[in-house]
């Protein structure tokens, strides 16, 4: 218990220190550290506020959607049903999860609480991870917005779908082969027994759904807020030219675009438009890396993942996704 508390605190404080140090470093050019807090607001801080509120306001509806969907699963869907719907054989189950996005077109903010709940309800971890990674890319909404954004390069949508599916599938295989321990942060059994308690105690499924929604709103919300805030800071203080200067060779340009996708924390529905705006300065392959990596991992979702899975598992996941996205996007001839 004490270990858990310590871990939780270290995470939050570490992230905050990181944010503060960024503020401190970038405030250097201003006159004083707290110039933002005087009545005369520094214009840069007003821009930070604009971005912060904007990302947050944009994400809230989708997080709420995910939260309600998850609370709905929690209250209405039994473990039995989840087990019965998931194909038994992993070779069928993993591709099935990769295409699940066509049935449930959820973006990357909404999918984490949903997948967490599904795994708690007995969906195999590897299947859940494939859905987590592929869902925000391989879905009709995102692919059609990509098609629209890349009007002059419509095949980009197809490549995006394929690359996202392949990367998710390979990560799923790796998880299936190598991860034996349940990486969800709280024990599955205790959670499910609590669930039974809730239903008994409340006597009403609807009010229980809402109560869970409040809990999850605060649970997921804190990671979303922290991610949105850091992303807003970086957007105001880091110039895109700096990033472009680094990305000149195929490998570095892919890495730079992935870095941008990570830091900007865009919604997977909108990121294609940003990618398209880079079309003349970056290679198509690096744009593909941007489009595939962003929905799988970004600043806000990483923090949300840390809130859901154990530390070590998330680190391994991040490494695996990063390497695979680089590999796959360099291989695909865009």
């Amino acid at each position: 218990m004490i270990l858990k508390i310590r871990q939780f605190l270290v995470e939050i404080i570490g992230a905050l220190l990181l944010g503060l140090s960024v503020v401190w470093l970038t405030m250097g050019r201003d006159s004083s550290l707290f110039s933002g807090w005087s009545i005369e607001w520094s214009p840069l801080w007003l821009d930070v506020k604009t971005f912060f509120l904007s990302i947050w306001l944009e994400a809230i509806p989708f997080v709420l959607l995910g939260v309600f969907f998850s609370a709905f699963i929690q209250t209405f869907v039994t473990e039995e049903q989840v087990r019965r719907w998931t194909p038994k054989h992993p070779l069928v189950a993993l591709p099935f999860a990769g295409l699940l996005g066509f049935l449930f077109p959820v973006c990357e903010c909404a999918i984490i609480p949903v997948v967490r709940r599904l795994i708690q309800k007995g969906m195999p971890l590897s299947v859940g991870i494939v859905f987590l990674l592929a869902g925000p890319i391989v879905n009709p909404v995102v692919l059609s917005s990509t098609y629209v954004a890349f009007a002059r390069q419509p095949e980009m949508a197809l490549y995006r779908g394929i690359a996202g599916f392949v990367v998710a599938l390979i990560v799923g295989m790796l998880v299936f082969l190598f991860v034996k321990k349940n990486p969800i942060r709280l024990g599955m059994e205790s959670q499910i027994s609590h669930e039974a308690d809730h239903v008994k105690a409340t006597g009403g499924k609807l009010s229980s759904t809402f109560a869970h929604a409040v809990d999850e709103f605060f649970d997921m919300g804190k990671y979303l807020l922290l991610g949105a805030f850091i992303s807003a800071l970086l957007q105001v203080y880091i110039s895109r030219d700096t990033l472009m200067d680094i990305g000149q060779t195929p490998l570095t340009s892919n890495l730079v675009m992935m870095g941008m996708a990570y830091l900007f924390s865009l919604c997977s529905e909108a990121d294609a438009f940003i990618a398209a705006s880079f079309a003349n300065t970056f290679s198509s392959s690096s744009l593909l890396a941007f489009l595939v990596f962003g929905p799988m991992l970004d600043l806000k979702t990483t923090l949300m993942l840390f809130g859901t899975f154990r530390f070590g598992f998330v680190v391994k996941l991040v490494v695996a996704i990063t390497l695979l996205v680089i590999g796959v996007t360099l291989i695909i001839p865009v």
Partner: protein, 335 residues
């Protein structure tokens, strides 16, 4: 965990949820939501407002009946922060946007952000911008001969549309089918690029106007179209509005009249604009809003075509209520 402590958490949560709900309602009622979100997402916000209000009620209810509803011990597991330090940080994070939303004034994104993002001009390439300004510097350093050459060119450009409008006038004098054929001819002219019917429609729509009015509705699609058919649009008169943006390497005669485009939220915004040249261009302060009217001029930069707006008149205007522009992706606007 004792009941009082739990109750305190529920109180704080209720206050935060109420704060978020009120903030969102305030932004919607004061019509400032478009400073943060594109109109197509506003519907989601209205639904969110209702859901947040419901969650607030549920949370307040938990203050009073919470202990009986949550008879199990999962609160201790992860639902509420366990230490006072932890709760301070977590709830502080939630209070931050509420305080920022109410206390800090709204600011439209401007030059500071544009500089960080890079700006897309009528040649669709940020890097070319430096070359253009370099060219302009060269012309400035060179003397009158260069200038006269330019005016001669401009005169030639002027002559061409005149002839065209004459022929159009004569055909208009006939019957309406004749008008249709000129439309048809225009379509022919703009359909060879292979950029799709969408841009052909817009190109025809824009090219028909004696003075192209690049308003909020067609700003982005219009710019893209003119960039695709740069040669056809050279010499046309254009009127548009935006904020003044400058880069350190600009000459005194140059500024960009720019707009932020927003797809979903301002985090995905990009900057688009037209490079404007005018003798007394440095009169207008950066980030001030102006209406510019002038003639488009074709430049060759690195083998790329680029359109520059030679302004004849610039007037200061106030910023529009909705400062951002959006892609429409619909058929050409009728008017």
């Amino acid at each position: 965990m004792d009941q009082n402590n739990l109750k305190r958490h529920h109180v704080i949560r209720s206050l935060i949820l109420a704060g978020i709900t009120v903030l969102l309602a305030y932004l919607i009622l004061s019509e400032r939501l478009s400073h943060y979100l594109a109109p197509r997402l506003h519907m989601f916000s209205y639904v969110t407002l209702v859901i947040l209000a419901l969650l607030t009620i549920v949370s307040i209810r938990q203050i009073f009946v919470g202990s009986s509803v949550y008879d199990c011990d999962c609160e201790e597991q992860h639902k509420v922060p366990r230490t006072s330090m932890g709760s301070l940080l977590v709830y502080g994070l939630f209070v931050l946007p509420i305080v920022m939303g109410f206390v800090m004034p709204d600011k439209i994104l401007g030059s500071d952000v544009a500089e960080k993002r890079g700006i897309t001009l009528l040649s669709n390439d940020v890097r070319k911008l430096a070359d253009v300004t370099a060219n302009a510097n060269a012309t400035e350093n060179a003397n009158v001969t260069e200038d006269t050459k330019q005016t001669a060119e401009a005169a030639k450009e002027e002559a061409r549309p005149n002839i065209e409008s004459n022929s159009e006038a004569t055909s208009q004098a006939a019957t309406s089918p004749a008008q249709a054929t000129t439309d048809e001819q225009l379509r022919q002219r703009f359909s060879n690029g292979g950029f799709g019917d969408f841009y052909t429609d817009i190109a025809v729509f824009l090219h028909k106007q004696p003075v192209i009015e690049l308003n909020d509705k067609v700003f982005l699609d219009g710019l893209t179209t003119m960039e695709l058919y740069a040669k056809e649009f050279a010499g046309k008169e254009l009127e548009t509005m935006g904020f003044v943006y400058r880069q350190p390497d600009f000459t005194k005669q140059q500024f960009v009249v720019a707009r932020f485009s927003v797809t979903c939220c301002t985090a995905d915004s990009s900057v688009y604009g037209v490079l404007v040249e005018k003798e007394d261009a440095n009169k207008w302060a950066k980030d001030s809003w102006v209406k510019v009217r002038g003639k488009l001029e074709l430049r060759q930069v690195d083998g790329y075509d680029m359109l520059v707006l030679k302004a004849s008149q610039v007037e200061a205007v106030s910023a529009p209520k909705d400062p951002y522009v959006y892609y429409s992706f619909e058929a050409a606007p009728d008017s």
